[in-house]
C-alpha cells in the first residue's frame, strides 16, 4: 500500500513538475508588478486593412471563421461586444502574446485588423489565464483546439495536485513516528486557510 501511494505521489509530482513551475512563475508575475517583467508598454502594434471575398456563411461564428481564414488568423475567437449593426462583424482572435481585433464592414467587404504582440513576460502571464472563457467575453466557448488542449492540461494539473495532496495525506498517515508534527502542520494549514475561505465572511 505504502509503496503504491509513494509511487503515485512521485509519478504525479514528476509529470506535473514543469506545469507547476510554469503556473507558479506566472502566478507570481500576475500578483507583482516587477519592472523587469514589464510587457505592455513594450508591445508592438500594427493596423492593416484587408479586402474580403464575399462571405458565404450565415451565422456569426461561421462568418468569423471565414474572415479568419481569409486573413490567415489562428487563435481563440472572442466576442468582445454585441454586434453593433447587421453590416458589422467585430471580434477578437487571441492567443498568449498575440491579440488581434478584427472589425469588418460586410457591405464594403473590408476588415480592419489591429494586432498587438507582447514579449515573453506577457506570454507567460497570459498562459496562466488562457482558458477561452474570459470574464468579459459576451459569448464564451472554446473554439480553438489548442485552447481546449491547454484547458485540459490546466484541469489535469488541478486534478494532479488534488492527487498529490491525497497521497501526501496517506503517506503522512503511514509515518506514525511523525504523527504529532504532521497533525500540527495540517491543522495549522487548515486553520489559516479556512479562516480566509469561510472565516472572512463572518468578520
Amino acid at each position: 500500500m505504502k509503496t503504491w501511494t509513494q509511487k503515485i505521489h512521485i509519478y504525479l509530482g514528476l509529470y506535473f513538475l514543469i506545469f507547476l513551475w510554469l503556473f507558479s512563475a506566472s502566478g507570481l508575475l500576475l500578483n507583482h508588478h516587477w519592472d523587469f517583467t514589464e510587457f505592455w508598454t513594450k508591445r508592438r502594434q500594427s493596423t492593416n486593412e484587408h479586402r474580403l471575398v464575399p462571405l458565404t456563411t450565415q451565422s456569426d461564428p461561421d462568418r468569423a471563421a471565414e474572415v479568419m481564414q481569409q486573413i490567415g488568423l489562428v487563435g481563440e475567437l472572442e466576442w468582445t461586444n454585441s454586434r453593433p449593426t447587421a453590416q458589422r462583424l467585430d471580434f477578437r482572435v487571441s492567443r498568449p502574446g498575440h491579440v488581434v481585433d478584427v472589425k469588418t464592414d460586410l457591405t464594403l467587404g473590408t476588415a480592419s485588423v489591429q494586432e498587438v504582440r507582447v514579449n515573453g513576460w506577457g506570454i507567460l502571464r497570459s498562459l496562466h489565464t488562457f482558458n477561452g472563457v474570459g470574464a468579459n467575453a459576451v459569448r464564451a466557448q472554446r473554439d480553438w483546439s489548442l485552447t481546449q488542449l491547454w484547458t485540459l492540461c490546466m484541469d489535469a494539473l488541478a486534478l494532479g495536485l488534488i492527487g498529490l495532496v491525497v497521497t501526501s495525506l496517506l503517506l503522512a498517515w503511514q509515518r506514525r513516528a511523525r504523527w504529532f508534527g504532521a497533525s500540527l502542520a495540517l491543522a495549522a494549514g487548515c486553520l489559516v486557510c479556512g479562516f480566509f475561505v469561510v472565516g472572512l465572511a463572518w468578520l
Partner: protein
C-alpha cells in the same frame, strides 16, 4: 569536499521531514487553488443572481472633499459598519452618486450613496463557496493595483499566496532531491519528467507560434 555519510543521512532526514510538514501545511491552500482552477475553467454561467438580503438604507455623513478616494470610501463604510476589500469606487458627478463595491471571499456588497440626500443603500450578495475559492485564486491579481490590498486581511492573503508559491517551489525542489534516492524509480521518473516537459514545451510552442 565530500559529505560524510552521517551528515548525508541527516540532510536526507531533514529534507524528508520538511517536505512532509511543509506539504501538509500547504495542502489546504493547494486544494483551494486546484478546485478554483476547475471552477474558473468550467464556469457555471448564471443569470444575474438576486441579492441575498433585502437592501437596507441608512443616513451617512458624506465629506465633500476627496470624493471617490479610498479614504472617503472607508469613512462611509465605517459608518455603515461594513468591512471588506474596497474595489473600484465610482463617482458619478452628474447623478450625484457614489458607488462603493466591497468584496470578501464569496460575497459582494454594493453601497450606493446618494450624495444629495446623504442616504446610503447597502445591498449584499452571497455567491457561494466556489466563488469564494475563485475570489481568493484571483487575489491580488494584476488589476486595480492602486486599490488592491486596502483591507488588511487581503494584504495578508496576498502574502500567503506568495508563500504558497515559494512553498510549492520548495516542495518540488525537495521532492526532486528525495526522488533521486529512489534508485528503482529513476528511469521511469526520468521518462515522466521528460513527458511532462515535452507536453508543456510542445503545447506552449504550438500555442504561441501557431
Amino acid at each position: 569536499m565530500s559529505i560524510s555519510p552521517s551528515a548525508s543521512r541527516n540532510i536526507h532526514r531533514w529534507t524528508q521531514d520538511l517536505h512532509l510538514y511543509a506539504g501538509l501545511f500547504l495542502s489546504p491552500f493547494i486544494l483551494v487553488f486546484a478546485f478554483s482552477t476547475l471552477a474558473l475553467n468550467h464556469p457555471v454561467r448564471e443569470v444575474t443572481a438576486p441579492p441575498t438580503a433585502a437592501s437596507r438604507t441608512q443616513s451617512v455623513t458624506v465629506a465633500t472633499s476627496g470624493l471617490g478616494t479610498l479614504d472617503h470610501a472607508r469613512s462611509i463604510l465605517r459608518q455603515l459598519e461594513l468591512t471588506g476589500e474596497i474595489d473600484n469606487v465610482m463617482h458619478n458627478t452628474k447623478a450625484g452618486r457614489l458607488t462603493i463595491p466591497v468584496s470578501k471571499p464569496g460575497e459582494l456588497t454594493t453601497v450606493q450613496v446618494d450624495l444629495n440626500s446623504g442616504v446610503a443603500t447597502v445591498q449584499r450578495k452571497a455567491n457561494g463557496m466556489a466563488a469564494a475559492l475563485v475570489y481568493l485564486h484571483k487575489r491580488p491579481g494584476p488589476h486595480l493595483i492602486k486599490f488592491r490590498g486596502n483591507w488588511g486581511y487581503m494584504t495578508a492573503w496576498s502574502l500567503l499566496a506568495d508563500a504558497v508559491v515559494y512553498g510549492t517551489l520548495f516542495l518540488t525542489a525537495s521532492g526532486l532531491y528525495l526522488w533521486w534516492f529512489f534508485k528503482a524509480e529513476r528511469t521511469f521518473g526520468w521518462l515522466l519528467l521528460a513527458a511532462g516537459t515535452l507536453t508543456v514545451g510542445g503545447l506552449v510552442t504550438a500555442i504561441t507560434l501557431a
